[in-house]
Assembly symmetry: C2
Homo-oligomer: 403 residues x 2
Amino acid sequence: MLVVQKYGGSSVANAERIRRVARRVANVRAEGNSIVIVVSAMGDTTDDLINLVKEITSSPPEREMDMILSTGEQVSIALLAMAIKELGVPAISLNGIQVGIMTDNAHTRARILDVSTTRLKKELDRGNIVIVAGFQGIDESNDITTLGRGGSDTTAVALAVALKADLCEIYTDVDGVYTADPRIEPNAKKLDLVSYNEMLELANLGAVVLHPRSVELAMQYGIPLHVRSSFNHNLGTIVREVSSMEKTLVVTGVAYDLNVAKIGLYDVFDKPGIAYKLFKSLANEKINVDMIIQSATRNERNDISFTCSRNDLTKALSVVQKLLPEIGASGVTSNDNVAKVSIVGAGMVSNPGVAATMFGVLAEEGINLEMISTSEIKTSCVIEAGKAEKAVRVLHDKFNLAK
Amino acid sequence: MLVVQKYGGSSVANAERIRRVARRVANVRAEGNSIVIVVSAMGDTTDDLINLVKEITSSPPEREMDMILSTGEQVSIALLAMAIKELGVPAISLNGIQVGIMTDNAHTRARILDVSTTRLKKELDRGNIVIVAGFQGIDESNDITTLGRGGSDTTAVALAVALKADLCEIYTDVDGVYTADPRIEPNAKKLDLVSYNEMLELANLGAVVLHPRSVELAMQYGIPLHVRSSFNHNLGTIVREVSSMEKTLVVTGVAYDLNVAKIGLYDVFDKPGIAYKLFKSLANEKINVDMIIQSATRNERNDISFTCSRNDLTKALSVVQKLLPEIGASGVTSNDNVAKVSIVGAGMVSNPGVAATMFGVLAEEGINLEMISTSEIKTSCVIEAGKAEKAVRVLHDKFNLAK
């Protein structure tokens, strides 16, 4: 069997943990498998590098940021290759350039375009366990790019797709995907199985066990993922296509995200092209906008609200300010003291009233809803940040997720 | 003018020093020059990485060692590029793969075979200050190699050669090349000018300001080097071809090297091919042998002594042990408590008696000579390690180098 395994930063945070991963990998190989390992940077390495950069500049050029950040993974792949060879098992480390992980040139948030399998297959054919640096690639100019935080998950799935792997295991420091964050809701339950769509919503909504783009990619190519802990041998959560017969749970999980800021524009001109202009300008600055709400027309003016990540707030506000003459807003407000709380479940679409139940529970707790957004399988509300944890607990309880 | 500058690890050891280098570089550019900068890893980074490796294995595979060590320079080039851009000056960092610094595949001690100038010239044409990772390259398999400690000097000279640079400046933490190590001999004097050959001998003999291979390369292509301090604007030492009229000093400097171990073989068969077998076997294990002495024949048996670096001693002894049946030595001794003290000067060849003066001075001080080796421009003696500093001082004094 050809297995791709991904180990996150906490799984390789120090020499002892690297040796543990090495033993685990060696055992999987002893069972006769071919193995490709994707590794993140050790523990806090990425943060340490960012702090080093902050001593030099407050606005680092993104190309140079990728140059420096990509070293973190290069250190961990070399150490893991050494630890595996120390066990007498052949291994070789490859960085993004050496594998040929081609991306676009959106530095610090690049997307994978193609993965070359030439070198990977050559090393597998030689009997090597191949250890690949996660999170990084190269663009067409041969410049180093990174995929954004959590991008190693995407690297692993992309390699699994390119190599047509039989299995893609994502090792992390928790046992799998839970109905809610167990640190907040002690009754949260591990899910044995979630569909790609549910996982995608959960990942996008702040459940940090999997990078959303890795789920997208796995869904697109039908690669099943096994999310599990590197600290024990328990079975984790399988993420795969789930047939409708299996969709028994109306609500699968509750997620929350504190990395949210909200911007409101009042009395925007009500004419075609205004929303395009606004969100195109934000996109040009590579600001990811999440929820967008436009109120009904009133005196030929609209109110538009949207959310973005907190660290993009300043940039987003300056984009908005520049556009004011064109879009004609009478006022701009912003708030980064908000959180997004969401319920997710593939069964929601066929169960009317689930969203209403959510609103009711939050209202009972005196939690005000600032924005609402729904899809077929999720409902999200923006609320005051300080009430996010409480909201998670009451929703988890209301939808009986601990059962 | 096209200038190549190299900054060592102490010149970029922290954010403040990196900013200082950035200002210096920006000033040189403001004078209208094109600039390529070669940088080493920050301060103790390389040692920190080696310590990390030691936690995993005591015998790291050299390919993986190069994978991890090369990250040190990748961090410092990105930071320096950021610091220069922060001053409003365009800059870009390139690692060894991106430049195309082709080497052989002797990991951890690779030699540069070729430097591609395509990317370098493209970035210079765009007006960028180009910052290149020293010490690293790639072999024909696209694997990362390193050039050995101090290899960044060689990178700088190789780039200067490839780009036909007008000037190659080597910035370090001392003011230039001295007649002896100023920490040992307070009267040591900075030299304004030394010839390639003298510098080569000094570098090989333990004067650590320049990597010997960088001097070889500069000599081969006639690139003048300017060795100077990054902490002030004093003129340093020029290393270039020196015409005989300028060769006024009989002895230019005194050097010493504590990284020496000595191996002696007694009663080796006196027949053709024995020395070849011995030193070929050592070379196969990549052990650099420095001095070799074979005594006159005695009963059809020879004594052979040689020196190598201290960290190669164990490996060298095991090579020798394996060969004993073939070479027939009756005994093997080794000693790593020795040092090599040398005097260097292009004028020595035309001044008979210089070596004898050296031996006499050392004898007066009761320093025993365990091995002697001479060339046209240097004389080296292996002595007891504890007496090395004293030997440097008395030789410096005897040859009037403080004048």
